[in-house]
Symmetry: C2
């Protein structure tokens, strides 16, 4: 009977309208009922991706669509550049290695920002590069990279730009066409407010052209098969996404971005007010997930567990090398400031119980004040 | 306001208990709420697969799990045997070719039965074969192959046996361990009564061993990653499958099989009573989908459309070379004889309207009589 609050950076809370859209009855994927839903969501997703490129669906996790962006563009031995600074950036390198590509890996420490000029320099040094793979929002660290500046570096040089926007699409500005991004990969379960199992991908004309020559084996993840809906799609998740995109566009993409920016401010202000150190950068770009350092001597895994067990608040801990060292509060999708307030209060309680010295009782007010400040003050 | 009846061979109707299990709120896939569901369904799936082998989940269509069974077992240049007699059998060959395997293709005409002894002979002739890929229930034709006899041929010869049981698992007997099947692939959206987007696969110890040496590139579909749940699973679909397996095992696997057998009898009896010719074999093995020939001069595509538009009954037409030539009535999963009766009556109406000469008004009684006959009479 404990009420639950979900503030992980994915899966994220799903709005009731989306649950209702996914509540049946089952329809056949080739029939007119589903085709209507599919047509509607495909007609509106370009406004979310800010692109006129094709948008493809995959019945897969976001990782599947990342893999597709490797397999459909590259042949074994092709050189690619991966710029990474965390768990998901390194996933690009792991996928590229699995496909036996020659991986130039511009690897930053977890929590750092990708440096766009160094991407350009590395491309010049490497020469003859098929594609550049980067992460927009690095969910493992809370860092949102300056993809626009990276795109400027890639433009005019060799290679297509592929962006993992799994946790960023819908949450923070991403101008696919204006910035010149060839491939944008995303997933249903983050800012798009739909359960996991549906991945999306936008593909430029140039990327389509390259894909026809790419020799990496693929079948279910083949872009051409995805475009022609050759396999049974994840019908209920597409229905859910249709309802979610409806909600998102009814609010407006910019308003949705602004909401996330203010949630990020609230989370950071609250954490700082109780005397905690931020792990993710303390600026308005950090609008997806707020990573907070756990005080010295405190076990972050136990803190996350206590938040859930005592308070019903499911936050995320650290992944990989950050395990036990940070707590991550996600604020993407169907999240309002009161969820952030609950998460901060539960974090405070858990830290106090673990013996940490934190300033009590002021985080939530600080968060609300930060949320309510005018954005363009 | 038209009431709908879904009698396609997938997606199939989803029971209300399954919809409720998938109705939220969203939970985190690493948290205890989901781990409980996952543990429960993984503990009960062996009874459905009739195996003690590992069972893996994929956020994918059934095709993705088929692809995984190629990529995880084979290296480029490996010889494999594909025995096919329809759309989905040929998909094995297409996937194997995409992975640059040397494909021995024992290809039967669509609608034929795979001949187990010819599988053995072809294996002897080919020599040194990594794996044999066959289809249990060929959804495109309604044929259910004798996988037990095929397994006997493969046993003692070279190569593992991989079975596409996407539409058969749960509907007709499949004794994974007793028959010695290394890999069984299935999907959520057929006899397992759950929406599409979740695929399953059982993997024998021998198959695991081979997979460590297989050089085909894979990442999201890697068996090892699937076993360790390295990617975000399709949370809601796993919750739904848990409820569906509960229903299935509450009825009992054998009773579920018998129910399907009787539904197949009903569909065939009804079709024959109105004077139609069966395309799928007229025997008790045809318990998944009944394929019925459309009378000469009648357009099967228009018949399927009329069934839906006039009567609200969504059946399936023919795929590939059978397009326009057959109507397929699926009777797997959450289907009772009254759905079959409705489908037959709607088919009769559509055929009469199209000018076909059919015997009117007796199909449904014939179907009910056949359904109600004792199974082991």
């Amino acid at each position: 009977m404990q009420k639950r609050y979900l503030v992980t950076p994915g899966p994220t809370p799903v709005p009731p309208e989306v649950w209702r859209a996914m509540s049946g009855p089952m329809v056949h994927h080739r029939g007119p009922d589903f085709q209507e839903v599919l047509g509607r969501v495909l007609a509106r997703l370009p406004a979310v991706f800010q692109t006129e490129n094709d948008i493809l669906f995959f019945a897969s996790s976001g990782t599947g669509a990342m893999e597709a962006a490797v397999a459909n563009l590259c042949s074994p031995g092709d050189r690619v550049l991966v710029a990474s600074a965390g768990y998901f950036g390194e996933r690009w390198a792991a996928i590229a290695s699995a496909y036996r590509l020659e991986v130039e890996h511009l690897r930053y420490r977890w929590g750092e920002l990708l440096q766009p000029d160094e991407v350009g320099e590395r491309l010049d040094a490497a020469g003859d590069t098929r594609a550049v793979y980067v992460t927009h929002s690095e969910t493992s660290t809370g860092v949102v990279n300056d993809v626009q500046a990276i795109a400027e570096q890639v433009a005019g040089r060799d290679g297509l730009l592929v962006v993992d926007a799994v946790s960023s699409l819908g949450a923070v500005p991403l101008e696919t066409d204006a910035w010149g991004i060839d491939v944008v990969v995303s997933g249903s379960q983050k800012a798009l407010m739909t359960p996991p199992g549906l991945a999306l991908c936008s593909v430029s004309a140039r990327a389509w052209e390259l894909s026809t020559a790419a020799l990496s084996p693929r079948y279910a993840l083949d872009w051409g098969r995805a475009k022609s809906l050759a396999q049974t799609p994840a019908v209920t998740l597409v229905q859910g996404l249709d309802a979610a995109v409806d909600l998102l566009l009814a609010r407006g993409l910019r308003a949705h971005h602004e909401h996330h920016l203010r949630l990020g401010r609230a989370a950071r202000a609250g954490a700082k007010a109780m005397g905690l150190e931020l792990f993710s950068p303390d600026d308005d770009r950090s609008a997806v997930v707020t990573a907070i350092r756990v005080p010295e001597g405190i076990d972050g895994v136990a803190v996350v567990r206590a938040m859930r067990d005592r308070s019903g608040v499911t936050a995320a801990g650290g992944q990989g090398e950050l395990k036990g060292r940070i707590v991550r509060i996600g604020h993407i999708g169907y999240v309002d400031v009161w969820d952030v307030v609950a998460a901060l209060a539960a974090l405070e309680l858990a830290l106090v119980a673990a013996g940490a010295e934190v300033e009590r009782g002021i985080a939530t007010a600080a968060a609300l004040d930060a949320f309510n400040e005018a954005v363009h003050a």
